[in-house]
């Protein structure tokens, strides 16, 4: 008798839990409009007024990879349930040709970021962002150093050795995020029914926010526009 009651109790518990996490899952597609001539630098990014250097072929390729249109992260933050977070696998912030690649690295809070030096000289990485301050020192080429990111929000990175080397880690409290492609198109799948705050982050343009409600699965379209500050 006790065994039957226990099974019933756990079955009820399971049903109750399922009621909290919406069953239907939807998909959001859209386009992020990016203004023309977006600067690569953040406003007030305290650059050291770098001397220009002739760019190598590899550097030009990296600059294409780091094109301002590729710095856009779209994330959906549920407002009526708490999503389960798992750490972001293979979160790598690379340093190549005195440039951080990618310019923006989105991760879930609590993930460990591997800082990899793929250059032929030493680099350092430091962050002065409150609650995420660190200085990992000068590292030799080929060496990677893990750094746990526990803060939610933007973590600004700089290399203290090379002028103009900067990037951001965007630490998120949601697993529902993606990077828009070079045309600004994005797609996020597997969004449970509910209300969401939509956040768009761009390295030099900052944040734009909106709201969206997912109901009954299906595909929704959400277009947003970034503006120059």
């Amino acid at each position: 008798m006790m065994r039957i009651l226990s099974v019933l109790f756990f079955a009820m518990l399971l049903l109750h839990t399922k009621a909290d996490v919406p069953f239907n899952k939807g998909k959001v597609v859209g386009k992020i409009a990016i203004p023309e001539n977006v600067p690569l630098l953040k406003r007030g990014s305290s650059q050291k007024y770098c001397e220009e250097e002739p760019a190598s072929a590899r550097k030009k390729q990296i600059d294409l990879e780091n094109h301002p249109n590729r710095h856009v992260v779209v994330s959906f933050h549920p407002t009526d349930f708490t999503p389960e977070l798992s750490t972001t696998p293979r979160a790598i912030m690379n340093q190549m040709e005195k440039t951080f690649v990618p310019k923006v690295l989105p991760i879930t809070k609590g993930s460990s970021v591997e800082f990899l030096n793929s250059d032929t000289e030493v680099h350092n990485i430091f962050s002065m962002t409150p609650k995420a301050t660190f200085n990992i020192g000068r590292r030799q080429p080929g060496k990677s150093v893990p750094q746990l990111i526990e803060k939610i929000g933007v973590v600004d990175l700089k290399c203290d050795i090379h002028c103009g080397m900067n990037a951001s880690i965007l630490s998120l409290d949601t697993p529902y995020f993606t990077k828009a492609n070079a045309s600004g198109n994005y797609e996020v799948d597997g969004l449970p029914d509910g209300n969401y705050r939509v956040q768009v982050y761009h390295f030099s343009l900052g944040m734009v926010e909106d709201k969206i409600t997912i109901k009954g699965g299906g595909v929704l379209t959400k277009n947003l526009a970034l503006v120059k500050p």
């Binding site: 023309e36 001539n37 600067p39 630098l41 007030g44 305290s46 650059q47 050291k48 007024y49 001397e51 220009e52 250097e53 002739p54 760019a55 190598s56 072929a57 590899r58 550097k59 040709e97 250059d119 032929t120 000289e121 030493v122 430091f126 962050s127 002065m128 301050t133 660190f134 200085n135 020192g137 000068r138 030799q140 080429p141 600004d156 203290d160 050795i161 002028c163």
Partner: protein, 391 residues
């Protein structure tokens, strides 16, 4: 001032068309430095960076900079630096267009060309023009200590502190081995021999790199400079520099000279940066060879051109505290030596503590123990603290 405004207007008009292009981007940056200083009994701006009237302790603005980089397209850009600083370390009223140049980076090319007023391709420190790029408050002796050679009267024994020669209402003190702001006028080319491994820069300029007032073009003056940068190992950068130039300035005092091209300076130097973990070592050796007339202020006559040699060396050791992000401590030991004692040798030890309080606030406090040959051991010491705000 009128010249600066005129030049600014000319540049603005000249680039109106380029600015009208759709892809033009303008980046604006700025720095502001406030300084607290206390100096020894013999303090002098030209010797330890502290004006004698402020040696007992004072707070003054040190420097104000407005910087602009204009990117017309991936090939063409322009750089400007409008600088305001204290006149001989006292009155905050000196305004100058410290940098104004146009750069051209041809497509698919390892070359970069610059015309205008640019960072002189000599030495390690010249590229650290802004306080935000410097570890210490003071510049090294080779850049900031005024020696007994003047760009107007040549070599004079005990110039400034012994022989007093008024020029434009001020006593002449000579000039350092290299201009402390590190700028020159002319044409510069940079060739990336092997990206990330080696590069070569050379420049044709309007004067040798020691001349501070090198805005004026004098057909008798010219300078050539070259700098080779190597990276033998990932943790080691090495530079080799050389320059030759003339620095005579027109002045009634030197009218009696038959050979006005007699003021010549040749500089050779090597520098390095080593870095590992939270440590960094950097240093520079410079040798200056002058051909200049010796001037006797009593007889107001020149003797024949003579050779004068000077040598400088500095070594920095810097440690960043990993447990207190943004803070560091550093020690610099440096010296300035002269052949045949035509000036007095200097030895300086500097200690500094620095802290990046915020991403835009830098605080540094440095104490210099400076001894000058044949003088009181502590009279040139200096304690300087700066607060730098930048964006």
């Amino acid at each position: 001032m009128k010249r600066i405004i005129g030049l600014g207007l000319l540049i603005t008009l000249g680039f109106t068309q380029l600015l009208a292009q759709e892809k033009t981007q303008i980046e604006i940056n700025g720095t502001a430095d406030l300084e607290h200083m206390v100096g020894g009994m013999s303090s002098h701006y030209y010797l330890n960076g502290i004006h004698k009237d402020l040696k007992s302790g004072a707070v003054r603005p040190l420097e104000l900079n407005l910087l602009s980089k204009i990117r017309f397209n991936p090939q063409w850009s322009a750089n400007f630096r409008l600088q305001m600083e204290r006149d001989e370390g006292l009155k905050f009223n000196q305004v100058r267009l410290a940098q104004a140049n146009v750069q051209w980076a041809p497509k698919e090319s390892p070359w970069l060309f610059t015309i205008g007023r640019f960072v002189a391709p000599f030495g390690l420190f010249a590229s650290q023009q802004l306080s935000t790029a410097r570890t210490f408050v003071d510049v090294p002796l080779a850049y900031g200590y005024f020696i007994n050679i003047s760009e107007q009267v040549g070599q004079v024994d005990r110039l400034g502190n012994g022989s007093q020669i008024p020029i434009n209402g001020r006593n002449e003190w000579g000039i350092p081995l290299q201009y402390y702001n590190g700028y020159s006028n002319g044409l510069k080319a940079r060739w990336n021999l092997k990206p990330g491994k080696s590069s070569l820069e050379f420049a044709l300029t309007t004067a040798s790199p020691n001349l501070p007032r090198n805005f004026n073009f004098d057909p008798l003056n010219y300078g050539v400079m070259a700098r080779l940068k190597l990276q033998p190992k990932y943790f080691w950068k090495q530079g080799f520099s050389g320059s030759f130039g003339k620095f005579l300035q027109n002045h009634p005092l030197n009218e009696q000279l038959i050979d006005r091209t007699g003021y010549q300076q040749a500089l050779v130097g090597t520098d390095f940066v080593l870095g590992t973990g939270h440590f960094e070592w950097s240093g520079e050796l410079t040798a200056g060879f002058y051909r200049a007339p010796n001037y006797n202020p009593l007889s107001e006559r020149y003797t024949q051109n003579q050779n004068f040699n000077a040598f400088s060396a500095w070594l920095d050791t810097k440690y960043e505290f990993p447990f207190l992000v943004g803070t560091y401590a550093a020690w610099r030991i440096e010296t300035l030596q002269f052949s045949d004692e035509w000036d007095q040798a200097v030895l300086r030890n500097s200690l500094v503590m620095g802290a990046k309080i915020k991403d835009f606030i830098l605080l540094r406090s440095a104490y210099c123990f400076q001894s000058v040959q044949n003088s009181n051991q502590t009279s040139y010491n200096a304690w300087r603290t700066t607060l730098t705000l930048y964006f």
